[in-house]
């Protein structure tokens, strides 16, 4: 795993000292809020409904046990004993006091963590596949490249004041678990004639104008990455609209200027940037890659795992949903669900964080990952350790067997915390998870992604959910609009709106009607909700959602 170098430590110390002084000047009144706001946002500090909120980057979703423990300590010392993991591989603390934030940043720096560029119109935390370095279907570990981009973009003098935020995601597998197509820029490691390179897509994004990214360059040789990114951002920095915040993202730039025109400009600029890069970046990449050397996996019999599967149905159910194929057949990737039925999606208490840190050190080569689906992953666990691991998770309420199922819901903070929200998201997620658990139906229903956002900004990825829920305000009450058929993977698609929204009191029943309709409509048990929707289209699902409309028409 990458460890902060002398350079990183020096940079963060200087930056944190600078922010400490800025906070002091804000508190004594010499900086106004208008002056201070961009400074605090550069350091991930927001002001929310009830308190400040500090957003800390978990670069490419990777944490060591010690780092997870540091986050737990920060949660206990300066917050309310928990943290919220987000769809962009960040952790958010919901209750810090401004006067404590400089100390929090120092504590983070000691653990090799920071909140730099987790907000503001800069290149944001680079996200990646949470199974990186472990997945059976991987071409190459995307994290060295993600770390290279982090180093290049952090405090990059030309790109501190872009027209708008800029989000990059990298994956090294054909299966896209990093949502590359809904990022401003997506990188997929591909091979051509035996050579590794990137497929580059741009212009993806959700929010009020959702768009799926399009391919800008089919194949970019590996060594050309940074000069090419420098060219893309340079073009965006010039063309991106600064007159209208809602038209400032690169997706709009591409839409207004056309993909071909943007490509021409990028290629022309690339000719210059490429000549200017002397290859130092490639030496750096090599050094970074050494830090991501795969762990020494052990060879051992896996009989204990097979026996537990046969004898313990609770273990078996968990193994069926929460394990994924590792490149080594003796190992597995464990996803620990942060979606216990009725709990807040993505929240972990400090106690749970410490347990996960311990388990990672004991059974998982000291590695933890945070997924954009708001769960925690132990990427390298030997199968023979699974029964003991499961028992420990179970004792701490972390053994929920629901990965990829209806209760594995992504939900943004919504109006329980967020100052921009138009409705709550968390209670809707809690109700749906609790209800389908009571019905004992979720394993029968199978893979189904429900995602909820509390406003049009779409932080909860509702546009790319199989069932998306968007919380809005209509006539002074919370109203929930449903979209169907979205997909955030390599076959990315935006969901379609079904019709009028539902009140807070009606949304649960509406989701239940929808899911029951699917169970009736599916051709066979193995046909997933998304497959059934794609086969039949929206009509039968609309009928289930709006039975009155059908009665009126009859």
């Amino acid at each position: 795993m990458y460890r902060h170098t002398e350079f990183d430590r020096g940079f963060l110390a200087a930056r944190n000292a600078q922010f400490r002084a800025q906070v002091e000047r804000r508190l004594n009144g010499s900086l106004s809020e208008d002056e201070f706001k961009p400074l605090r946002l550069m350091n991930g500090l927001y002001l929310q409904l009830h308190a400040y909120m500090l957003r800390v980057a978990i670069p490419y979703g990777t944490l060591s046990g010690a780092q997870m423990r540091a986050l737990a300590d920060i949660a206990d010392r300066w917050d309310r004993g928990y943290g919220h993991f987000t769809t962009r591989q960040n952790i958010q603390f919901n209750w810090p006091r401004l006067i404590d934030v400089p100390d929090m940043l120092d504590a983070l720096a000691e653990a090799g963590l920071h909140s730099v560029q987790t907000s503001g119109n800069t290149v944001r935390n680079v996200t990646s596949d949470h199974f990186a370095g472990a997945a059976a279907d991987e071409i190459a570990d995307p994290r060295p490249v993600a770390e290279l981009i982090r180093q290049w973009s952090t405090d990059h003098p030309e790109f501190q004041f872009l027209a708008r935020k800029f989000k990059i995601a990298v994956t090294g597998s054909a299966r896209d678990r990093a949502a590359t197509r809904i990022n401003d820029l997506g990188l997929r490691i591909v091979t051509r004639n035996g050579e590794q390179g990137f497929e580059v897509s741009i212009g993806g994004g959700l929010g009020r104008t959702p768009m799926i990214g399009r391919v800008l360059r089919e194949f970019l040789p590996r060594a050309d990455l940074l000069p090419y990114l420098e060219a893309v951002l340079g073009v965006y920095n010039r063309l991106g609209r600064r007159d209208n915040k809602f038209k400032a993202r690169i997706k709009i730039t591409v839409h207004e200027h056309g993909l071909d025109h943007v490509r021409d400009l990028v290629e022309r600029r690339f000719a210059l940037t490429r000549a200017a890069f002397g290859g130092a970046d490639q030496d750096r990449l090599e050094r970074i890659a050494a830090d991501f050397a795969p762990p020494a996996l052990r060879r051992a019999p896996t009989g204990a795992f097979d026996r537990a599967c046969r004898s313990d149905p609770v273990f078996r159910a968990w193994a069926d949903t929460n394990l994924s194929a590792h490149r080594d057949p003796g190992h597995t990737i464990v996803t620990v669900s942060l979606k216990a039925h009725g709990a807040t999606p993505g929240d972990a208490s400090s106690g749970q964080m410490r347990l996960l840190a311990d388990l990672a050190e004991r059974y998982g080569h000291d590695e933890l990952r945070i997924s954009h689906e708001q769960n925690v992953i132990l990427p390298h666990v030997h199968k023979s350790d699974l029964p003991a691991l499961h028992a420990a998770l179970r004792a701490h309420g972390l053994a929920t067997a629901n990965i990829g199922l209806i209760s594995d819901i992504i939900a943004c903070p919504g109006m329980d915390y967020c100052a921009l929200a138009t409705a709550r998201s968390i209670p809707v997620a809690q109700q749906i998870a609790t209800r389908f658990d009571e019905l004992r139906l979720e394993h029968e229903i199978g893979p189904l992604k429900i995602r909820i956002s509390g406003c049009i900004n779409a932080c909860g990825h509702h546009h790319v959910a199989h069932i998306g829920i968007l919380g809005l305000e209509r006539a002074g009450v919370e109203t929930y609009q449903i979209t169907l058929g979205g997909d955030g993977t390599e076959t990315a698609m935006l969901g379609e709106r079904t019709g009028p929204g539902f009140s807070a009191g009606d949304i649960l029943a509406a989701i239940e009607r929808l899911v029951m309709a699917y169970l009736d409509l599916r051709a066979e048990r193995s046909e997933t909700f998304l497959q059934t929707y794609r086969r039949l289209g929206p009509a039968p699902f609309r009928e289930a959602l709006y039975p009155e409309a059908r009665a009126d028409a009859a």
Binding site: L47, A51, A421
Partner: protein, 104 residues
């Protein structure tokens, strides 16, 4: 006829802590909505907002929020203000833990 002005209060966030505060008639700030000054006249409300905004080293983001007059004084009209008064619905955190905090 001129529409009657619906009553308002001035609310903001505390600069150092970040929690929700309400302007009182004595020119201070309270963490309890019932102690907020009720503003029934538009010109006066605007003036009080300007006076609040001047307190840059004390508060952040002052604005006028509509209230209804209930038994215990001002009550939120919009559900957003109701959440600000109480705290989040997923945990018993925020103002609901201590609904009538002493004035800061």
């Amino acid at each position: 006829m001129k529409r009657p002005y619906s009553p308002k209060i001035v609310t903001a966030s505390d600069l150092a802590v970040g929690d929700v505060i309400y302007q009182t008639a004595e020119d201070g700030w309270s963490r309890a909505l019932p102690e907020a000054e009720i503003l029934c006249d538009e010109a006066h409300a605007q003036l009080r907002l300007i006076e609040a905004e001047r307190q840059q080293n004390r508060i952040v983001g002052a604005y006028l929020a509509e209230v209804a007059i209930g038994e215990n004084g001002p009550e939120p009209v919009h559900f957003r203000e109701d959440f600000r008064r109480a705290g989040p619905s997923n945990y018993f955190h925020g103002k609901q833990e201590n609904p009538r905090q002493p004035r800061p």
